[in-house]
């Protein structure tokens, strides 16, 4: 693997070079904010399309609120247009642009989530492919950046990742001290980008320093759970009606913030946006946390209480996904924890399941005595 070093202060220049090479560049940036806006105003860090390196936040802050999901799986997009002419309906294709894109400053958890989305949207086994996703995916290069300061909600090490993981990356950057970055070329796409940046890259990287830095950051994580027993426990159908689901999940208000903020959640809905006799068929994000998500036309709803909807979300992450696609459903970014207005915490479920898996008989006795 090819390595190099880069000055952290040259990151802005990197963005400039990529922009000059006619690439669409997406980088973390702070939304404008005024101090006079008072104590309610907070810093808003998002991935945004940029036209220069000015004001970039690559390697700063922790996670942009939006993640990279929306640049591969659009928040909304027309599938086709239609027009009714007499008794005939004409289907009119919609032209989509798929510009060559580089997303820089992606954290390891977000980079790992791409494989999970890919397994749904381009499932070779099932012979299914979502062209919108795969077209974007094939034209997007990810420059990732190892974390330096995880926060209290981060739990990537609990789901077999790490703050310096290069999984899903094309070109991976890690701070190795003295304002230097260790650069690893991971893929061909990464090599192409490295070529654009070659004037800024120097010599060889420092693998030892990179590994040391990664290990130090891993130790900063405080939210550590054992995810190993979760899948087996969920596979046991008896646990589907465990008392835990209602106890932990009854405070959930079904807002869907966790699913929209989640880098691996991928559910979508399709509607016709009509205007007279013509319109568009539009695909847009949906959420399993909405009460009408599983509402049948008959009025029956198999997930009739909110806690059952959250049970579905947890099962999707830790059973359905890994079982069906062999990719992780959860990358431990902690966005769902940060976003939740009622502090419903997925890692509390993880801890509870691990505990129940380790003490099956004790739990059974507890329930019987109640």
């Amino acid at each position: 693997m090819k390595t190099a070093t880069l000055n952290k202060s040259d990151l802005g220049k990197c963005i400039d070079l990529l922009v000059q090479a006619d690439l669409r560049v997406i980088a973390p940036r702070l939304q404008p904010r005024l101090d006079e806006d008072g104590p309610d105003a907070i810093d808003v860090l998002t991935f945004t399309e940029v036209d220069s390196g000015e004001g970039h936040q690559v390697g700063e802050g922790l996670l942009p609120l939006n993640g990279v999901k929306e640049f591969l799986f659009a928040k909304h997009e027309p599938l086709f247009a239609y027009e009714k002419r007499g008794k005939k309906i004409e289907i009119i294709p919609v032209h989509h642009e798929y510009p060559q894109t580089v997303i820089i400053g992606v954290r390891p958890c977000d980079a790992a989530s791409i494989a999970s989305l890919e397994s749904v949207f381009s499932d070779a086994n099932a012979g299914f492919e979502d062209p919108f996703f795969t077209e974007r995916r094939s034209r997007t290069t990810f420059i990732t950046y190892s974390c330096t300061a995880p926060d209290a909600s981060c739990f990537c090490t609990s789901v077999n990742l790490s703050p310096d993981s290069a999984k899903g990356s094309d070109l991976h950057l890690t701070e190795i001290g003295d304002g230097r970055l260790h650069v690893e070329v991971i893929s061909k796409a990464g090599e192409a980008v490295a070529k654009q940046l070659q004037d800024l890259l120097e010599g060889e990287g420092d693998q030892a320093a990179r590994e040391k830095a990664g290990a130090e950051v891993s130790e900063k994580l405080t939210r550590i759970r054992d995810s190993a027993p979760i899948m087996d426990w969920l596979m046991d159908t008896a646990n589907f009606d465990d008392e835990m689901w209602q106890r932990l999940g009854e405070k959930c208000i079904g807002c869907g913030a966790c699913t929209f903020a989640c880098p691996t959640c991928h559910c979508f809905d399709i509607v016709d946006e009509n205007k007279g006799s013509k319109g568009y068929r539009v695909k847009f994000w949906d959420s399993c946390q909405f009460d009408h998500f599983t509402l049948h036309a008959s009025g029956h709803n198999p997930r009739d209480w909110q806690y059952k909807r959250y049970r579905n979300r947890f099962n999707c992450k830790f059973k359905i996904y890994p079982e069906k696609f062999e990719t992780p459903g959860c990358v431990g970014c902690g966005r769902c924890i940060r976003a939740c207005p009622v502090n419903l915490d997925i890692t509390e479920y993880m801890a509870e399941v691990a505990h129940k898996a380790a003490n099956p008989s004790a739990m059974k006795a507890d329930q019987d005595s109640e």
Binding site: H76, K251, A339, P341
Partner: protein, 297 residues
């Protein structure tokens, strides 16, 4: 203070006067608290109250949510003044009966504007702007209150306390529109602002209606603007200003700025503040002969 609340909660549960006590407990990290439903007297020790207790708990009393299906005939709820205003408004709108709820009022010193801003104490740099000039820090409508309730003058008109509303109002119309266009660009329509609102009580929200579809569900500009403006208009004269919609927004869009401005308009037009009277109906569903008419042209 919390000891007295716990004792009262314990008694209520032991005597079977309420089925549940809705309150706050420690959250999963030190800057957060979480809603808790206490059903057993021995669990009252989990109840806490301090400036981190941001949540507006009356959402759990709103019949649109499923909580009443658990067989809660009567619920006790820990309420800071602004939450009790939400309860009062729910009662005034016939969404709740006064005898279905037992209000455990707490004295409040203000709450933190966002969990991320909690640094161990409450100060001018992190106190939510809604708390400035609050006249219900000693709550108005309670069934139990620890200690004496001092007399408070609550006749003052509503005033916007968020500097951002004033900053926005000073902008030219097109610049103000540009601000919202940029901010709404982040919206992905998760509807956290709706679900967290104690006053969103429709069984089927207008945005979920499909025949016809009034509001495009997709998160494009049209769908986003029509959703947020409809939400703001539906809350005119009803919003009690808990600010939960902004706090719940995972994309940190300050959607309550609309509501604050609307409250100002309602104050100017009808001298009305919601959430203070169990009987008064809000101005947009009532008609009085002396109502303002000068805006009809």
């Amino acid at each position: 203070m919390i000891e007295e609340i716990r004792n009262q909660a314990r008694q209520l549960l032991e005597n079977g006067e309420v089925d549940v006590v809705i309150g706050y407990a420690e959250g999963s990290d030190p800057s957060r608290t979480t809603p808790i439903f206490v059903r057993k007297a021995e669990d009252v020790e989990k109840l806490i109250y301090d400036s981190r207790c941001i949540n507006s708990l009356p959402i759990y009393l709103n019949k649109r949510h499923e909580y009443t299906r658990k067989g809660w005939k009567k619920s006790a709820i820990i309420g800071k003044g602004c939450d009790i205003r939400a309860i009062v408004q729910l009662i005034a709108e016939n969404q709740l009966k006064r005898d279905e709820v037992y209000i455990l009022g707490v004295p409040c010193e203000g709450v933190v504007s966002h969990p991320d801003k909690w640094d161990g104490s409450l100060h001018d740099g992190n106190r939510a702007s809604k708390c400035t000039g609050c006249d219900v820090m000693t709550p108005h409508e309670t069934d139990f209150f620890p200690g004496e309730k001092p007399e408070v003058d609550r006749s003052k008109p509503y005033e916007v306390t968020s500097p951002k509303v004033a900053n926005l109002m000073e902008l030219e119309l097109d610049k103000r529109f540009a601000f919202w266009r940029t901010d709404f660009d982040r919206c992905f329509k998760c509807y956290a602002c709706r679900e967290v609102c104690p006053h969103c009580s429709c069984n089927v929200c207008i945005t979920d209606e499909t025949t016809p579809s009034w509001i495009d569900p997709a998160a494009h500009k049209k769908g986003i603007f029509s959703w947020h403006l409809t939400r703001a208009m539906h809350l005119v004269g009803r919003c009690t200003g808990c600010g939960e919609c902004t706090r719940a927004c995972p994309m940190d869009i300050q959607v309550d700025l609309f509501n604050q401005r609307m409250k100002e308009v309602v104050q100017e037009s009808y001298s009305y503040k919601p959430g203070y009277s169990l009987e008064d109906k809000h101005p947009l569903i009532t008609y009085k002969v002396d109502d303002r008419e000068d805006f009809i042209k």
